[in-house]
Amino acid sequence: MENMGVVFALLGAVFSALFAGIGSSIGVGLAGRAASGAVTEDSSLFSKVLILQLLPGTQGIYGLLIAFITLTQIGIMGGSADISMYKGLLYFAACLPMAVVGLISAILQAKCSVSAIALVTKHPDQFGKAMIFPAMVETYAILALLVSILSVFGIANVPV
């Protein structure tokens, strides 16, 4: 039981990379199919739809970042990995915002990106406006990233 702390902490890091990554891969895949449809009809749309396709990919990067910071903090990447179970659970909880919000927001952002790609296909001059809609979803992924980062860094100072 005394080694369970590092297990929970590692589980948090894995969840963060795993779920945010799953969300992003679904999202980028979905938007990619829409982008392929747009480029099939008009190849000059490539650069515009590529940006819209990549928007749901950021959650996966955020998830990886949280996983990386957590692994560094708990000593898996070097140093001592000796942490209490309570601390391990705290790390696990700290990773959850990025894991859950990353998964859901990537999929929802992709749906928004698909609609934006359809919009750009019909009205290429509206690209600027079309990009804002999926970008709004990014706000919540960034908020989750902030909470996870602040929590992971803050846990080191918690006396448990």
Partner: protein, 326 residues
Amino acid sequence: MTSSYVDKSYVYAVVRVRYAELKLLNASVLSQLATAGSMEEALKILRDRGWGNGGSEDPESILQAEREKLWSFIDEIVADRSIFDVFKLPNDYNNLKAALKESVMKFDYPGIYISESTVDPELIAASIKERDYKALPESMQEVAEQAHSLFLKTGDGQICDIMVDRACLDEILKAGKATKDDFLKMYAEIKVASTDIKIAVRAALTGKGRDFLDMALAECETLDKAALIDAAAIGVEAISSYLGSTAYADAVPMLKESPAAFECWCDNLITQRMKPQLYESFGLGPISAYILARENEIKSVRIILSGKQNGFSNEMIAERVRDSYV
């Protein structure tokens, strides 16, 4: 969760449809066509917009080329074309009627088969000729056998047509429900209900009895078949009065005007119901709506061209032109 987001979204197809919608004829182009000075002038407008195969084809070839372009585009964007069988079923059953007539009358009528169908017209013709009904799709076997033997026994082509048309309506409704797509279900329902209304009106005008109506009318959700039969047995006024209490109340003035006006109203109703699909990015709805929009567009162009050919006034032609989807 994954499958609902990824497998059934049709995003690639919907985006391609969005681009294709840019080439649809809008209300102003349709009005320009309707007010063109002659059929040649209307054909020039169509050719300038890419209609036909680039040559100087006759109107019928241009319309046929457009229909072929539509289905080859759908083939390209949707892997399983059978999803849209609901739109092609009437062609299958028209081909069945043609095969029955050809077989019983012992005449060859070139060009009576419609190629955009779910069942190969040659297969239908051959199976009717050889009375090999098992070669037909299961849903067609029974009606083909019954209609064929009745046609041979009585020589009454009309009864045979009615049996086949009824089977077609039942099949459209079944196919619409089977797709589990709200838009296709709605389309199938309106198609069957509007055909029921047309049959009821025609039967009332020609004094057909209840047995005929019972055989010809299909069951659907938005109409009460028994009530429609009761009304049709009384007359057109009774049908109008019954429809006043249904979802088709707005159709009553059109029904009183002419069958063509009612048909136009039905097509416009579907166009109106499919407009929200312009803002949908997922699912079969936008693709189905595009197919219907193209079919309606081809129908409108046919009306315009034949109106021009037969010297109808621009106003008369404009009245018959369907509403544009875009």
